[in-house]
Symmetry: none
Subunit: 210 residues, 4 copies
């Protein structure tokens, strides 16, 4: 983190390992991509990124720390990406479309990271960072609900319970993406979500429009 604010070093030897932290996270993601979250083992990570066991512990405290750090990195990246699409949208319907397609495009662009999010959420929720996760999830949902608020007042969208909005809007696209990610492409899995981009966005809009 500090290094982001430091003046860029000119090929210093420190540079080579400056992002040891990121190397480790990348290695962890690679492990998970190959064998699921359970395959993220200290030794597996070590073998992939060349860091020593001690170094890994220095940066992340313990195994779950790696998984959690990676989870939150990805979670926030996803949120940021979707939010950017939403911010760029003009009007209610376009906004709903942006939520769906922003999510969909992000998943298609980085399937491994998306898969990791699905796989690891349970583990993170069960660990010591439960409150962090609850917080992040709540924050994201609130942003969605808050965005809808003015349009609900104008009557453009139906007057639905806050808790329901995320599931109504994002449920179908998440469901499809999850199914797509878990399918083996080699064995005739589902078509890419991109194929149904318009339909998924449209369905979300139908669920909530007045």
């Amino acid at each position: 983190m500090a290094s982001r604010n430091s003046p860029p070093p000119v090929s210093s030897p420190a540079e080579a390992t400056a992002d040891r932290r990121q190397d480790i996270l990348n290695a962890a993601l690679a492990c998970a991509a190959e064998g699921g979250v359970d395959a993220v083992t200290i030794d597996g990570v070590r073998a992939r990124c060349g860091a020593s066991v001690g170094s890994i512990y220095h940066h992340f405290g313990n195994r779950d720390g790696i998984v959690a750090a990676l989870f939150f990195d990805i979670f926030h990246d996803q949120s940021r990406s979707v939010q950017a699409q939403l911010d760029a949208a003009q009007g209610v319907e376009a906004g709903v479309h942006a939520l769906v397609t922003g999510y969909l495009d992000w998943v298609v662009a980085q399937p491994e990271r998306a898969r990791f999010l699905f796989q690891s959420r349970g583990a993170v929720a069960a660990g010591p960072r439960t409150p962090d996760l609850a917080d992040a999830a709540h924050r994201r949902n609130q942003a969605l609900v808050a965005w809808f608020e003015p349009h609900r007042r104008t009557g453009a969208v139906r007057d639905l319970p806050c808790e329901l909005m995320p599931s109504l809007v994002m449920g179908p696209v998440q469901s499809y993406c999850r199914a797509w990610l878990s399918g083996n492409a080699a064995q005739g899995g589902l078509p890419s979500p991109t194929t149904y981009r318009a339909e998924l966005a449209d369905a979300a809009w139908r669920s909530v429009k007045a």
Copy 2:
């Protein structure tokens, strides 16, 4: 087997261990309910149901065999339950409502089994019974799609791609149920799905109706 031809014993000793197989599955579910799928341990199961290690292996081959067997038992039970609701429904809209509420009611009635389904699907999909799972999932989806077919012909529902139907119809309710199950009731989780029974069913209908 022989006992089927015998006069029904009243709490005979045979009765006690007659369903050794089911005892084991129940114990496995209890383990999972307490600590997640990873907590389904040979020794944990053994301790809960009194079966010996050898007996467990005799019935299920290996640890994953227990998880998979339990998964399929629950999966089929759920399918049967939803299908029964669907069969009882009159008309298109009622049918769509039945799919959603049938699922929702089943989840609310047996949250532990529902949670197990969500938690273990990935593991089962990654194991040797991948084809069985693909088959079961495909069969279920086909049943849903086939049910819609006549209504699509009459123009009562929109002409949507087959692959999309399950996500459009079931996505929102699954999304909400999943979120509800993963929330800790003690820490102010979401309201029971029952609260939004009508809204969720209605949203599904809006997604697909012409």
Copy 3:
């Protein structure tokens, strides 16, 4: 055993399983041929010959009982075979040749049985039938020594210690056969012992002749 003296049954149903005992031994040999003596497991044998676990125990008492029974069967068969060759030989030199080639031919004719003998001897020696093995080995050695006795008196063979005779006469051929059996033919093992039949017999004779 008793059945050998019984009048030959005419395709009675008992006939089918009459040699259950031999079926088991054959299955055990097949196991050993595939994975070494350690691969002779109750379940492996059961799977190969269709006998039930209980039946196997009925016939052999325990696992080691199978191995020992098979060992002695083979051991005696080998002894009988070599002895027959020896009995047919005329003269000292021919006798020594017969001992070597009789052994060699038997090994080449049934390599799996020969391999089993080499592999299992240690286990049998360590088990409860140690005295039986010591007895059988002693008997065989005595037969060899006794055969030499008259020729030693005539001065045709050297006056060597009894305990040494078996190693001097059979050592080389056993050594070569053992090496041949343990080699993987596919990976360029040794030539068949048959190739050096004459040389091995001759070497034995040189070791002991006056």
Copy 4:
């Protein structure tokens, strides 16, 4: 490694565990001496040398790794010992005697190690280090054959096939040593090989001399 540059500590704590690896091998040999190769158990080794399970795996990878490492250690030690005797011998006959007595003396000096070699060879040959074993055996045999070569040219020894030499020269002494090692001294086993040192060496010479 660092300790090599340090002043030699006198029974420092580091000294105690300096040869963790060797401690483990010694413990493994002790297990085998007591109950055969099968008795070389991770837990048995651990109990004897105080190393932790993890430490054993750190050094040897798995159980078979211990057995194989010990096997090769002993095998090479034996080869070195015999070779030293051979190098010191003057003339053909003396050389053949040296091969036999060098082997015999090594066996008598360390019967446990010799027994381990006989017992474990099969397991090593069946495992992943098959090529290493084939290599080591081939190298040893080649050394023997190469040593004979000049003497064969001068006509001092007979013109025999290379593959046969090891069995002709070493067969009898190996046969006797094996029998001696497997006999229980308490139950009147064979006399020590030392008793027949001269005879065994002489027999080898007779087998190959011109």
